[in-house]
Every structure is written in C-alpha cells, then in structure tokens.
C-alpha cells in the first residue's frame, strides 16, 4: 500500500513538475505546480511527517501559488512565449544547472547512504521527525538561534518590500 502510494505520488510529482515548465499558458503551469506540491505533500505524509505535509499545502500550494496566480491574472499574460525569448546561452546555462542539481541529488541519495549508513538517515531514525511536537522541539530548543536569525532575515525582506512600494513624496 505504502509502496504503491509512493510510486503514484512520485510519478504525479515528476509529471506535474515537467508540465509546469512545458505549458505555454502560465495559468496551466500554476495548476501543475499545485498538483506537484500536493504530490510532494503526499510523499511527506508517507514518511509520517504530517506537520511538514500540512505546512507544505498551506504555505506553498495555498498561499504562494495564489500570489503567482494573482500576478499572472493582473498582467493578463496569455502566452509567455511572447514575453520571454530564450537564447542559446540561456538554454545551455539551464541545462548546466539541471545537470549540477541532478548530480547533487544522486550524490545525496547513493553516496550518502554508503557514507552514513542507513541507520543515521533522518527518516530512518524514527517515524516522528515531522510531527508537530518534534518539529517544534527542534525549532525552539536546538535551532533557536538559527530560527531567530531567519526571522530577522524575513523582517528585513518585509521592510525592503515596504520601502520599494512606498510612493516618493
């Protein structure tokens, strides 16, 4: 059952991720992005990480894609090929980037397993790593300093956004 759901979820995630970049219509891309994020949330659920899954849906599938759609609808972009001309250099750079990320993923997945040994993987240490309690404990006890630093970063971003939007007097 779990394996079947995992296979279905991964296929859905990959197919929808591909369709995010291949759709000409930006609204269809956004819909594919939602499907992709939901299938990743399903993968989190299969790992027992309910909290991470719920946050994935609330923050990414819920709030962020709505903002994307809001901008797309305001600008009323019907066909993005009219807006973006991608040259040969851009395509090469994109390919190189994909290659680097792919190598990294394979390194983590294959080499990481042999270096660390399977027991030390976070997902293998117990089924509770993504519940509300464990995430809260890690965030507010072990990583409190990092957590506060990130919140300062977010605050700076908000101040930046407000300054950009503010009308010149």
């Amino acid at each position: 059952m779990t394996t079947l759901l995992f296979v279905l979820g991964s296929i859905a995630a990959i197919v929808s991720a591909l369709s995010v970049v291949t759709r000409r219509n930006p609204v269809h891309s956004a819909l594919s992005l939602i499907v992709c994020l939901l299938s990743v949330a399903l993968l989190f659920l299969l790992l027992g990480a309910q909290f991470v899954a719920a946050i994935q849906v609330i923050v990414y599938a819920g709030a962020i894609v709505v903002l994307f759609l809001f901008v797309v609808m305001l600008l009323n972009v019907k066909d993005e090929s009219a807006v973006f001309h991608s040259g040969i250099a851009q395509k090469l750079a994109a390919l190189a980037l994909v290659f680097v990320i792919l190598v990294q993923v394979v390194l983590v997945a294959v080499a990481g397993a042999t270096w660390l040994g399977k027991e030390q993987w976070l997902a293998a240490t117990g089924l509770s790593f993504g519940t509300v309690q464990s995430v809260g404990r890690e965030l507010f006890a072990r990583y409190l300093f990092q957590f506060e630093v990130v919140s300062v970063l977010l605050l700076v971003a908000i101040v930046g956004a407000v300054t950009l939007v503010k009308k010149k007097q």
Binding site: N25, V27, H28, L31, I34, Q50, F51, A54, I55, V57, I58, A61, G62, A63, V66, L67, L69, F70, M73, L74, T131, V132
Partner: protein
C-alpha cells in the same frame, strides 16, 4: 482492515448525504429568514410551508441548459466548480460531531477521522478552496469574473492569515492540533469564554473566508453582475453554490468545535447539541447578511491587515503571557 475501511466509507457517505441535505435546506432557511427580516412572506408555494422548494430548485438547475462560453478555457472552466465543491466538503472529514457510540458491539467514534494535525488539515483544505473561484474566474475569459477572482484571491490570502493566527490561542490552551483534543479541552469552560478576542477575530475572518456579506466582494451583485460565477449556468453554477453553502456549514462547524465546546452539552445527545450550535451559527450568518451593508474593497483590506491581524497577534502574546504566569 476491511472492516475499518467499510466503517470509514459508511461514515463518509452518511456525512456527505447529511451535508447535502443541510445545504438544500440552508438555502430555504436563508430565503425564509431574509424574507422575514425584510417583512416579506418568502417561498411558501411548493409543498407545506415551502418545504419542497429546495428540491424544485435543484430539479430546475439540473434541467437548465449548460453553457460554456466560446472563448473559455474549457478544461479549467469545468474543473473550477468541482474544486470549489470538493474543498468545501473535504473539511468535514476531521470535525468530530459526537462522542464514541457502541453499535453492534463496535466502538465507533462520531467523526470521519481523528487526525493528529486536524486543525492544520482544515486550513490546508480551506487554503485550496480559493482555487475554485480563481480558476473559474480566469477560465471564463470575461472581465467581471476576472475582477471577482482577483478580489477573492487577495481577500482570501489576507483573511486566512487572521483566521490561522486567531486559532493559535486555542492551540496554546488545548496543547494539541487534533480537533478531538480541542473538544476534550472544553469539558469545563468553552474557549469562547477563555479566548473572547480570538473568537471575535475568527468569527469576522470566517465571514470573509466564505464570501458572505459584509465581505462578499468577489460576487458583489451590483458591481460585478455575479462576480466569479457570472458565466456559469446550470449544474456548474449549482456546484459553486453547493460549495459556498457547504463551506458556510463547515465554517459554522469549525467555530462550534473550536470555541463553543463542540458536541458537548447537557440533557440532549451530543449530535443534537452539535446540530443546534451549527444551525445557530448559520442563522447568525443569514442575520448578518440581512442587516449589514457591504464593505468597500479598500476598507476590507485595511480592516484585515491593520485591525484584525494586529489584534490576533496581540491575542497570541497575551495568551502566552497568561499561560506562563499561571503555570
């Protein structure tokens, strides 16, 4: 295993049918109550006291011609009402509407599922609900729906924040995100008493979340024709309406569960208490519609970001201080 699946299936079907029936009679209740507020008679022709009116309406909607505009994005146009409908009813999966009962020797908890992250699930589903409106508005390829969709996207994102922040106080009191635990935590005192500010913010934000007056900007009839569903007809229109009234019921059920002790109450069985509280809130929704005028759009945004959000954050702070003081 099979038995568990069967029980869950039966519960889901029963709840879904009950919800659809409630939606049907909610439309009748709304028309009658609004009529009484406006000193009219209201529907009273079909059946005794107009009780068969919702059925007549349903048949009428089914038999109407289903129009898809020529320039519409067909795929999204068909998908949108289904999204809206699904999101409204999926929320009910985690809401407990009674204690455990013993039926044929089995202990069955009333409530489809008790999920550990129940409250987060509710917010996750309701944050997806906006897509039905946004996609429907965009796919219609017409200006009034588009304006309605834009309004709704901005409104729902703003008010969802207030909704989530106002509930944090309840979470701090109940120490759990499971809705069954939230109900169990209210055995002595309702959270509406302990969290009056959070309760009021949640109540106001939920009006915006279900697009009801005074926050029904996405479908403001006298500005936008019908808002996001202007181009929809027949059963697709009905699906949007089912979704809207369904989310009214789930929102009332959420308020009941979070702040009014859920199914707890003396004398009557739990399910009856749950229904009484939910129907009381539905009446309140209709009452407000018959009483208050609509907000202007900039007022709505200002109210959400400059009043409700700071108040709900202050509520978290005060709750935390009081909890730290007493423990």
């Amino acid at each position: 295993m099979l038995e568990l699946v069967l029980i869950a299936l039966v519960k889901s079907v029963v709840v879904l049918v009950a919800l659809l029936l409630m939606v049907a009679y909610l439309t009748l209740m709304e028309r009658v109550v609004i009529a009484r507020i406006q000193v009219r008679v209201g529907p009273n022709r079909v059946g005794p006291f107009g009780l068969l009116q919702p059925i007549a309406d349903g048949i009428k909607l089914l038999l109407k011609e289903d129009v898809i505009p020529a320039q519409a994005d067909k795929y999204l146009y068909v998908l949108a009402p289904a999204l809206s409908f699904g999101a409204a009813f999926a929320t009910f999966a985690v809401i407990p509407f009674g204690d455990t009962v013993v039926l044929w020797g089995r202990r069955i908890s009333l409530g489809i599922a008790d999920v550990n992250v129940g409250l987060l699930y509710v917010f996750a589903i309701s944050s997806l609900g906006v897509y039905g409106i946004v996609f429907g508005a965009w796919a219609s390829n017409s200006k009034y729906p588009l304006l309605g969709g834009l309004r709704s996207a901005a409104q729902m994102v703003s008010y969802e924040l207030c909704l989530v922040f106002s509930v944090v106080g309840v979470l701090m009191l109940s120490d759990s995100t499971s809705l069954a635990d939230v109900v169990a935590g209210q055995a002595k005192v309702w959270y509406a008493v302990l969290q009056p500010v959070g309760f009021l913010v949640f109540l106001m934000a939920s009006f915006a979340e279900v697009n009801r007056l005074p926050f029904d900007l996405p479908e403001a009839e006298n500005e936008l024709v019908g808002g996001f569903h202007t181009e929809y007809s027949s059963m697709k229109f009905a699906m949007f309406f089912l979704g809207e009234y369904g989310s009214m019921i789930t929102t009332s059920a959420m308020i009941t569960t979070l702040y009014l002790g859920g199914w707890r109450g003396p004398f009557f069985p739990p399910v009856v208490w749950f229904l009484i509280k939910v129907v009381a809130f539905l009446f309140f929704f209709i009452w407000v519609r018959g009483t208050l005028p609509r907000f202007r759009y900039d007022q709505l945004m200002k109210f959400g970001w400059k009043v409700l959000l700071p108040v709900s954050i202050a509520n978290i702070l005060v709750t935390g201080l009081v909890l730290a003081w007493t423990s």
